[in-house]
Subunit: 169 residues, 2 copies
DNA sequence: GGTGAAAATTTCGAAGG
DNA sequence: CCTTCGAAATTTTCACC
């Protein structure tokens, strides 16, 4: 008889203290060997490897990437863009979200509560490139108000999120 | 005769089209083997490996990290914080920059041109945690005005920057 | 869950066009 | 700057606490 096949979409086991340590280590340096990570969290390599596999299968770890120096590839300008859209239909929202998401200069894109409806972080080479981007943005869909704020200096920028400590259940 | 030894601090060679392809691939998936990356960019593994080593030595690739799902570790709230500092000394700025940089909830921190002086992206568990963060922020240094804007929905968030095409020299 | 070691891959470097 | 080849290291699997 065939197995009942209720697919394990995600196990969603609660993360223990060791899992949290592994996440902290890997968020800061994913080039370490499994044995080295094991050492740092107090595990030998097989159980450490199994935990990492599970964290990936569960979608806690979403991907491994290389980070690139923005300036060294000629992308010198970061802009925060605040958008007021005014009242719009669901169809409009879908069109807007798809159009903006497809723009590679848009690194982050959030729908906001309050006076600003959307917030973007945009990375481009220079003002000239930003102007081209801006025209592309405002011509893609009608927008009530768009405010661009330009970054002068990047003081801090990380990808590692602060993994909260394990609370007693 | 001994070689002249002028240390190569960084070669700063112009990135060619293959280097750019490698960066695009690695920014999206750093778990690939060198041989696989080589295939995708049309190189066998040794030269591909050497290029990756050079990109790391030159600081173009800054690090390799694992990305973690914010919600799966209980960090449900993203807040954009705009700060007006008013006029302040260099010493004040240093104190401010150090204090804010040291806060793990602060994922990004930029000095801005225009009406807003600083812009933060902050990630916390919930409103209660944000309130604690906010009090910590405003008590760390005197600030003229602080505006918090709350994200309702993350529509797009990537770490991969759009590597510009190679321009003819 | 965890250990330890074998098997399968991958990395890294040497030799050479 | 590229290719081929091989030694060293690492990842991944497996048998067993």
């Amino acid at each position: 008889m065939a197995e009942l096949s209720i697919p394990q979409v995600e196990s969603n086991r609660r993360l223990d203290a060791i899992d949290r340590k592994i996440l902290t280590v890997l968020q800061n340096d994913a080039s370490l060997s499994v044995a080295e990570i094991g050492d740092r969290v107090g595990l030998s390599s097989t159980p450490c490897w199994k935990r990492i596999q599970r964290l990936e299968a569960d979608g806690v770890i979403t991907k491994r990437v290389a980070l690139v120096d923005q300036n060294k590839i000629g992308l010198g300008l970061t802009v925060f863009v605040s958008i007021e859209s005014g009242d719009h239909s669901d169809a409009w929202l879908k069109t807007f979200a798809d159009a903006v998401s497809a723009m590679p200069e848009v690194i982050e894109f959030y729908r906001m509560a309050g006076d600003v409806d959307y917030m973007l972080r945009v990375v481009v080479a220079d003002m000239r490139s930003y102007d081209i981007f801006y025209k592309k943005l405002i011509s893609a869909v009608p927008l009530k108000n768009v405010t661009s704020r330009f970054a002068m200096e990047k003081i801090k920028s990380v990808t590692a999120l602060p993994v909260p400590a394990l609370e007693a259940a």
